[in-house]
């Protein structure tokens, strides 16, 4: 994934900083709680939500099961409609392809529709190395780009910024990138939006090349779909002559009809809207005389760890994700830790299961992500395609502590347990030994009870983390089972 995140500390360390930042926590709390409540209302409006969720799950599972077939069908349809399909095995290959395509047009500037896939591969940075400037046109993405920052939310990349911070970024940076911010810009949402609109309009009208992702790709017709709220996407898709779309292979759906389900569940889950303000669809190229839309269209189909993820029978459900970000907005861990702590463009619960699958669990941050959850299950409850995120988290924890079979770059391998878990493993094994022997458990309990006067109020070793912020419960004089035996199940005493 994007080089931006290399060298990130493990999740607990990154979260440590975030938890101590009151502005960040306030911004996140406010934003997630607002959208959380709105989503609940928008979902409650539909009597058939449970059926839609199940339908979405099934369509995605079916597609993933026959992914090879649908991708070939898609390629044929896109080609027939005048587009060109490119296959990219990883981030480097995708970046090379896109840079080559842009260079071939002779342009050095491109406008971009917000896209997770291009962030995942670090496209903007890769293009810059080739002398090509990529301008983000989504408002929040623009804020992140101007602020030389990283996105911290799937849908609202600048969720961690408040209005005052945004005003400051616009005033300082817009000039460097094009049309400067108006004099005396205040921090009212309307003025900020207007400043962005004027700044971006120039870019749209000048650009000859647009780069996008897609929310869906329809195999039967070769149609790509982008849903968005601001209309910037529509401009990028219709104004430039050349359009290059970089899309993860899991975004395909078999038929046009399947969209019906997702065009209901996605907006309600993400922005709590009944419908997306802009739903743009494009199929191949358009004829210059007659219509808007690209005259040259390239589709780059991105794998980058997806086939490997597909090979895992528990973890593959992560590929059902439609990036609605509902799981982020309800996640109590995301709310405190913020998106950056997850060390990837996919933060929150989905990031915690997707990144360690796409990238593997070799790095410290990836090995820590499966533990970045209390397994409270709020994410699973809201997910519109019913991804059982807690199940995958536990599955990945198993991979981290015990190793096991994985597929990496198409090859089967057996992973060794990650380092640094030896003490935990020993403790778990010792506990197992005692817990399969009721007698041993009883002896242990008695020991704990008899020595209770000597128990410290703070714990050594890993237990310190507990007693740093919480008091330990006092140990009772007698475990229940001893009471039960002594009193004959409570019958002998009062």
């Amino acid at each position: 994934m994007s080089g931006t995140f290399v060298g990130m500390p493990a999740f607990p360390a990154a979260a440590h900083e975030a938890v101590r930042n009151p502005t960040l926590r306030g911004n996140l709390r406010h934003a997630t709680h607002t959208i959380r409540a709105k989503r609940a209302k928008a979902v409650a409006e539909l009597a058939d939500w449970a059926e839609l969720r199940e339908a979405g799950r099934r369509i995605k599972d079916h597609t993933l099961r026959h992914l090879d077939r649908y991708l070939v069908q898609l390629e044929e349809a896109v080609t027939a409609a005048g587009g060109t399909v490119h296959w990219a095995a990883d981030a480097d290959e995708a970046n090379r392809i896109v840079a080559g395509l842009v260079k071939a047009t002779g342009e050095t500037e491109v406008v971009k529709v917000k896209s997770m896939a291009t962030q995942e591969i670090g496209l903007n940075e890769a293009l810059l190395e080739e002398g090509i400037h990529a301008y983000e046109t989504d408002l929040a993405e623009l804020i992140v780009q101007l602020g030389d920052d990283r996105p911290s939310h799937i849908l609202v990349p600048a969720i961690h910024r408040n209005r005052g911070e945004i005003r400051e970024i616009f005033t300082r940076e817009m000039r460097e990138w094009g049309r400067p911010a108006p004099e005396g810009l205040t921090d009212t949402p309307a003025e900020l939006a207007e400043a962005a609109r004027l700044h971006l309009r120039e870019k749209f009208l000048r650009a000859k090349v647009g780069i996008s992702g897609a929310n869906f790709m329809v195999a039967e017709t070769g149609t790509l779909v982008v849903v968005e709220s601001e209309g910037n996407g529509r401009m990028c898709l219709t104004l430039p002559e050349t359009l290059i779309s970089v899309v993860g292979i899991e975004k395909v759906v078999p038929t046009w009809r399947d969209l019906e389900v997702f065009l209901q569940t996605l907006p309600r889950s993400s922005t709590a809207e009944r419908m997306n303000p802009y739903t743009s669809m494009w199929t191949g190229t358009t004829d210059a005389e007659t219509a808007d839309g690209p005259r040259v269209f390239h589709l780059v189909l991105l794998d980058n760890g997806r086939t490997d993820t597909l090979a895992d029978d528990v973890g593959r459900q992560a590929l059902r994700c439609i990036r609605c970000s509902a799981c982020l907005n309800v996640c109590p861990v995301y709310e405190r830790a913020g998106g950056h702590a997850y060390g990837s463009v996919y933060p929150g619960p989905i990031g915690a299961i997707l990144s360690p699958q796409l990238r593997g669990t070799a790095s410290e941050i990836d090995a820590s992500l499966p533990y970045a959850s209390s397994l409270c299950g709020a994410c699973y409850e809201v997910c519109p395609v019913a991804i059982d995120i807690p199940e995958v988290l536990v599955h990945l924890r198993e991979r981290v502590v015990q190793g096991g079979p994985v597929t990496r770059e198409g090859n089967k391998a057996v992973l060794k347990p990650a380092k640094g878990h030896a003490a935990e493993r020993a403790a778990m094994r010792a506990a197992l030994w005692a817990l399969t022997r009721p007698g041993a458990l009883r002896t242990g309990q008695r020991l704990v009870s008899r020595t209770r006067r000597f128990h410290p109020r703070t714990l050594p070793g890993p237990g310190r983390a507990w007693s740093d912020s919480r008091d330990l419960p006092p140990v009772p004089a007698e475990p229940f089972r001893d009471w039960w035996r002594r009193t004959n199940g409570g019958r002998d005493t009062k």
Partner: protein, 251 residues
């Protein structure tokens, strides 16, 4: 009716009062309670930390110990969810990995008979007024695995509402996780503590003396945070409230 009390290792070792309250309550309601001495632990800590293979012998042991009973009742939403939700999954995984269906068969003898306490009272015994008396202002925290794993719904609240003398205060953000999460509290101490603090501050805002839940593990974390923040509130397991009567009131 003869039921087995599945007390869980945490309750047995650290919260025997909850077990005694269960015995008192169920006996009062005419249920014959047994405590199978061979019981140990459901294996949740192992399973959730990534030690699924280590959890398997514990699931098997649990099934051996409890298989013969008509019903198994536990005062823990999360251990209840472990048995009901995750044991079948463990059985299926073992089968899928070519290790045969014996674990699946073993757990099938306990899965449908395992109930969390409030579920057992409301669904099996069909009571909501258990004749309890508890003259305190109480706020109720629905724990995650009880709420979302078992789908306890409003059962605990209905039981509490029927307790004489009890004043139920609405907990803001009730359905948010308290931040315990087993080993999560150790592996991500900062986030866990931040979540716990918010939970306690919300509880404080209700003016209640007591925060009640149907799981002592969450109560240990919340109670430990309450003590550290010197709130004066205390955590009490719902079994202890429901067992409390005018003659023998719980504190």
């Amino acid at each position: 009716m003869r039921v087995a009390l599945f007390l869980t290792c945490v309750n047995d070792t650290l919260y025997p009062d909850t077990g005694r309250a269960m015995v008192k309550l169920l006996t009062r309601l005419g249920v014959e309670v047994d405590f199978p001495m061979a019981q140990t632990c459901c294996g949740q800590a192992h399973y959730n930390t990534g030690y699924r293979h280590e959890a398997e012998p514990l699931a098997r042991h649990f099934s051996d110990v409890f298989g013969e009973y008509e019903a198994i009742v536990t005062p823990s939403g999360s251990c209840g969810a472990m048995v009901r939700e995750l044991y079948p999954r463990m059985g299926e995984r073992a089968r899928a990995e070519g290790r045969g269906g014996s674990l699946a068969t073993a757990v099938a003898s306990v899965v449908p008979k395992t109930y969390e306490l409030t579920e057992f009272l409301v669904d099996v015994l069909d009571v909501t007024d258990v004749g309890a008396y508890y003259p305190h202002r109480v706020t109720y925290h629905p724990t995650c695995h009880g709420l979302r794993g078992l789908g306890l719904g409003d059962r605990p609240r209905r039981l509490l509402e029927a307790v004489r003398g009890l004043e139920l205060a609405e907990l803001p953000g009730a359905e948010e996780c308290c931040g315990f999460g087993g080993t999560f509290a150790l592996k991500n101490p900062d986030v866990s503590a931040a979540m716990g603090t918010d939970k306690v501050r919300n509880a404080e805002s209700t003016g209640a003396e007591v925060l009640c839940a149907a799981d002592n593990s969450c109560l240990m974390h919340i109670g430990g945070t309450m003590a550290r923040l010197r709130t004066g509130m205390r955590p009490v397991h719902i079994a202890e409230i429901l067992a409390s009567t005018e003659e023998e009131p719980a504190s």
